[in-house]
């Protein structure tokens, strides 16, 4: 099933364009890197607040409300451009260990966000300034570590496989 899916992706006109046009891959990769950088930077801003290391006089709910829309827009661009990069060499990426670890870390970062949103945030009062409960601080630490891992794996992909 995976093989037929990878074959379908590889034979799509977009995948062929991405693999054959000399400017397509570098251009899409540039947008991918910039959007990922904004995803990480904006999440880090909230994570540092959760950990109590910065912006302690800004409420977490206020900071999340104002910063996370930026994160989501950047994440959408990163996901689309990431999909296009994957399509350029679906078999190669699928077999790459750094790529697989990156996807696993992305899933873990998503789970961490869901647990924080649906459990930690509902239990504790995060509307005020100052330190937050331990669960929220742990969520911030995990998120920052996972996203550093995601960026590192993304870079290691470039050193462990040819782009085309």
């Amino acid at each position: 099933m995976i093989d037929s899916l990878l074959e379908t992706i590889s034979n799509s006109p977009m995948a062929i364009y991405m693999a054959e046009d000399p400017f397509a891959f570098p251009t899409v990769e540039t947008f991918h890197v910039i959007s990922l950088v904004i995803v990480f930077g904006s999440i880090l801003l909230v994570d540092l607040r959760l950990m109590g290391l910065a912006s302690r006089d800004y409420s977490i709910s206020g900071l999340s409300r104002t910063i996370l829309p930026i994160t989501w827009v950047a994440f959408l661009v990163a996901a689309i451009t990431g999909g296009l990069l994957f399509a350029s060499n679906a078999y190669g990426y699928f077999g790459n260990t750094a790529f697989r670890i990156k996807l696993l870390l992305l899933v873990l970062a998503g789970l961490n966000m869901l647990v924080f949103h649906f459990v930690t945030q509902r239990r504790g009062n995060l509307d005020g300034p100052g330190l937050v409960p331990g669960g929220a601080r742990l969520a911030g630490l995990l998120s920052a570590m996972l996203w550093i891992g995601i960026i590192a794996c993304g870079r290691w992909i470039g050193f462990t496989m040819s782009p085309f």
């Binding site: 540039t30 890197v33 910039i34 950088v37 904006s42 800004y58 409420s59 870079r155 290691w156 050193f159």
Partner: protein
């Protein structure tokens, strides 16, 4: 320009530390990873400042407060960017020093740093909720776009010889 830089490249190749940087498989990817993480810190600061200048985000804080929040982190990240950039250049001197996009990137970094310095001085005075002048808003957006262009140039170094 290439002829001018060639002796430096030859000298670097003769140094044991250059051979260590180039021959140790994890040094360049690790330096690049740290480089990207620091780009994230610089670019996010510029993005939030530009958006706050337009009144789109972070209204609980004045621009001066946001500027103070990002200043230390941005300066620290810029020093780490310089250090990791030097490591990458030592590891692969031809790839960087003989590359026209690398040179354009370095020029853009210098210009952006100068403009960003004057922008930060203007923002320190923006302590009230009153909207800042259109000129300062424009410069904040230009600084953001410039950092994005520099990040893009960084990626294109790999593709342009």
């Amino acid at each position: 320009m290439d002829e001018m830089l060639q002796p430096l490249i030859d000298w670097l190749h003769a140094q044991p530390f250059q051979q260590t940087f180039a021959g140790t498989f994890w040094i360049v990817p690790t330096a690049q990873t740290i480089h990207i993480l620091c780009v994230a810190i610089v670019m996010t600061g510029a993005l939030v400042i530009a958006l706050r200048g337009m009144g789109l985000v972070g209204k609980e804080w004045s621009l001066a407060r946001w500027q103070a929040r990002f200043h230390g982190a941005t300066v620290a990240a810029l020093w780490v960017l310089l250090a990791t950039g030097i490591v990458m250049t030592i590891a692969e001197p031809e790839r960087e020093l003989l590359n026209i996009i690398f040179r354009a990137k370095m020029l853009a970094v210098i210009v952006t740093l100068i403009v960003a310095h004057f922008l930060s001085r203007s923002l320190r005075a923006a302590t009230s909720d009153r909207p800042i002048g259109a000129g300062v808003r424009l410069v904040a957006v230009l600084v953001l776009l410039s950092w994005m262009g520099i990040a893009a140039a960084g990626r294109w170094i790999a593709y342009a010889g």
